[in-house]
């Protein structure tokens, strides 16, 4: 198994190089002149300013030279400087990563748990009303536009009912808790600020639901299918022949075997989660990598665009690697080979 892991690890950097190259190519295709956003419209007519900016940002070199210097910098961990924020892209990203992580993890937790529950219900009550409802709920989750759902929920639960707070990670005019993990929920709890913790947790509810509903759909469909596959399997018949209660048979035998493929799917859904995160963060004014990406593309800030693409790609590759390893660990047939 170690060999399998190593092989996967070896390919990863090559994929990353590929991603970087493509991102670079794309960013150089931009017809609009990025200098406009750097020096401003008015200064475009001023040759001195333009020349200075070009030299400063390396835009006067040829494309291959730019590529080489970009790669060189990357290896040293330098992602360049954002045209928009004027600070290091690396700093921008690391500053915003915890926000996205907090949101994504909350969504993952919700999606996986709700998905498993719904899937089990749908499998056990197969073809009855509850099954159809569960499947419809799941299907809607994969079909509903995330940004629209966010708007609707905000309108209903914040604007009209006032049950939940509005967009944003923190209440207005409030400072974040002392930095420990970057997760405002954990940090405020660690600092003993329970009212802030509660507020931050409530602010997480709608975005996590919006982001996680799609995952619920995928997971519940898979669990249902896997369980139905196993429901009349021979070993299940043996379990019943041993005198086990139906519920024990379901959970200890059927579900356990149905969970194996689900782990893979959850891991592979990271891509979809990231997609959703971009849109969710925009709606809920969540200061994470997603909204950073949106602002970067709007302003043609290509160091930032590249940075986000590389980071996104790296996360993607990492999660599929971890998923594969986890699957190998959980499935005894692979682990022992």
């Amino acid at each position: 198994m170690a060999r399998y892991v190593l092989k996967r690890l070896a390919i990863a950097p090559l994929l990353l190089i590929g991603i970087v190259t493509i991102a670079f190519v794309i960013s150089r295709l931009i017809p609009a002149n990025p200098l406009v956003s750097i020096v401003g419209e008015r200064n475009m007519g001023n040759p001195t300013v333009v020349a200075a900016a070009e030299a400063r940002w390396g835009l006067d070199k040829s494309i291959p030279a730019q590529y080489a210097s970009y790669m060189g910098n990357l290896v040293r961990g330098d992602f360049g400087t954002s045209f928009r924020t004027k600070s290091s892209v690396w700093d921008d990203l690391t500053e915003r990563l915890p926000a996205t992580a907090e949101l994504t993890l909350a969504a993952l937790l919700f999606g996986a748990v709700a998905g498993v529950l719904l899937g089990v219900v749908a499998a056990v009550k197969r073809d009855r009303a509850l099954d159809h409802l569960a499947r419809l709920f799941a299907l809607t989750g994969s079909s509903i536009p995330v940004f629209w759902l966010g708007l609707i929920l905000l309108f209903v639960f914040y604007a009209r009912l006032g049950w939940l707070p509005g967009p944003g990670r923190l209440p207005p005019r409030t400072l974040p808790p002392p930095h420990l993990t970057g997760f405002y929920t954990i940090d405020s709890l660690a600092a003993g600020n329970f009212s802030l913790f509660w507020n931050c947790a409530k602010r997480l509810i709608m975005p996590a639901f919006v982001l996680g509903w799609g995952l619920t759909g995928i997971v519940s469909r898979l669990i249902r299918a896997s369980m139905l596959d196993e429901l009349y399997a021979d070993y299940v018949r043996t379990a019943r022949a041993k005198g086990l209660a139906e519920r024990t048979v379901m959970i200890r035998h059927v579900l356990r075997n149905a969970l194996l493929p689900t782990i893979t799917i959850i891991g592979l859904s990271f891509g979809a989660l990231l997609t959703g995160a971009v849109l969710t963060e925009t709606i809920f004014s969540w200061n994470g990598i997603g909204s950073y990406a949106v602002e970067a593309t709007r302003t043609l800030d290509y160091p930032a665009i590249n940075g986000v693409c590389i980071l996104g790609g790296a996360i993607f590759i990492l999660t599929s690697l971890v998923t594969d390893v986890m699957y190998a660990v959980v499935d005894p047939k692979i682990r022992l080979s």
Partner: protein
């Protein structure tokens, strides 16, 4: 004769399908006494498995089961689920055909064995674990202490079937139902498994209902034989009587298919194919393939009746001049 342990009376098992209904079992009567080994033979589709699955209520929700199944006098058909669960793995154990798919691939065999124990007996996980090792010993599993931590896919077919037997015996049942226990195994392993069954049968005064299509297996372990065809028993008697003094044409046909070491006669298969179970002809189900068929066979509802040494369901038995 002592009171029977298991009594099946007029058992019917039907599966509704889109084209009609498949009558897998059509009026079966069967008795098993304590300590007796009853063999049930027949080809695929004869209803042998379907009949025994009804005992513990292990059919899926689609099956329609009617008639009477009595264990120690208690009626099992329609019994509350709790009562059935109590019997399953408790007083009645069951083993199945394919031990690879019949064991949970994700759990160790020790865990699966302990589970069988814990369901029915009080005790801690530790005592259940010790009992698991004892059980493996009982079925002659080599190196039981190490084996409890193995997964099913690490064991050979024969070893897995021993595990199945151990699981079924975990709570010292009175009756073991064995559904084609040797079919998925090679010949040498078959003999070993039969040995195990014979031994525990003697040691524990166990009654066994063994289902198989292999007459050799029946000869090796059973006391009485029931020959099934198209959902009914067509001949019944002691092993000796059925093998040497059978009366039903189907039984003759079955035995004629067996290769023999003592003569070089040709193997004579039974012509034709078993009838479709959702479109059975009136009268005897064997009529299309029977060399002795007569008009009466097509109308009468043929029942088991004593004929000579055995009971046979044939209006034309005893057949004069039939091959032995």
């Amino acid at each position: 004769m002592s009171e029977p342990l298991l009594e099946l009376n007029d058992l019917h098992v039907t599966f509704p399908v889109s084209s009609g209904a498949i009558k897998a079992v059509r009026g079966l009567d069967l008795t098993v006494h304590a300590g007796e080994v009853v063999g049930i033979v027949g080809e695929s589709g004869s209803g042998k498995s379907a009949s025994m699955l009804s005992v513990l209520g292990l059919h899926g929700p689609a099956a329609q089961v009617s008639g009477s199944v009595r264990f120690r006098g208690r009626e099992l058909i329609g019994a509350p689920a709790a009562e059935l669960r109590h019997l399953r793995g408790g007083r009645i154990g069951m083993i199945f055909q394919d031990p690879m798919t019949s064991l949970n691939p994700a759990l160790t065999i020790g865990r699966q064995l302990s589970e069988a124990v814990i369901v029915h007996q009080k005790g801690s996980k530790r005592t259940a674990g010790e009992r698991a090792i004892e059980l493996l010993d009982m079925v002659s599993m080599p190196n039981p202490k190490a084996r409890v931590r193995s997964y099913p896919h690490e064991l050979s077919g024969g070893m897995r079937q021993r595990v199945m037997i151990a699981m079924a015996m975990a709570n010292d049942p009175d009756l073991l139902i064995a559904d084609e226990p040797t079919t998925a195994l090679d010949v040498t392993t078959q003999a070993q498994i039969l040995d195990v069954l014979r031994r525990i049968r003697t040691e524990r005064h166990l009654a066994i209902a063994i289902i198989t299509h292999d007459l050799g297996i029946v000869a090796g372990i059973a006391d009485t034989v029931n020959v099934m065809y198209a959902g009914r028993i067509v001949e019944r008697g002691s092993v000796e009587d059925v093998f040497y003094r059978h009366e039903h044409p189907y039984t003759s046909g079955l035995l004629a298919c067996l290769p023999r070491l003592d003569s070089r006669s040709e193997l004579v298969p039974i012509g034709g194919a078993p009838p479709a179970l959702d479109a059975l002809p009136p009268g005897c189900a064997f009529q299309d393939r029977c060399p002795h068929v007569s008009l009466e066979c097509m109308s009468a509802d043929v029942q088991l009746a004593p004929v000579g040494a055995t009971e046979a369901a044939c209006v034309n038995a005893p057949i004069r001049g039939a091959a032995r």
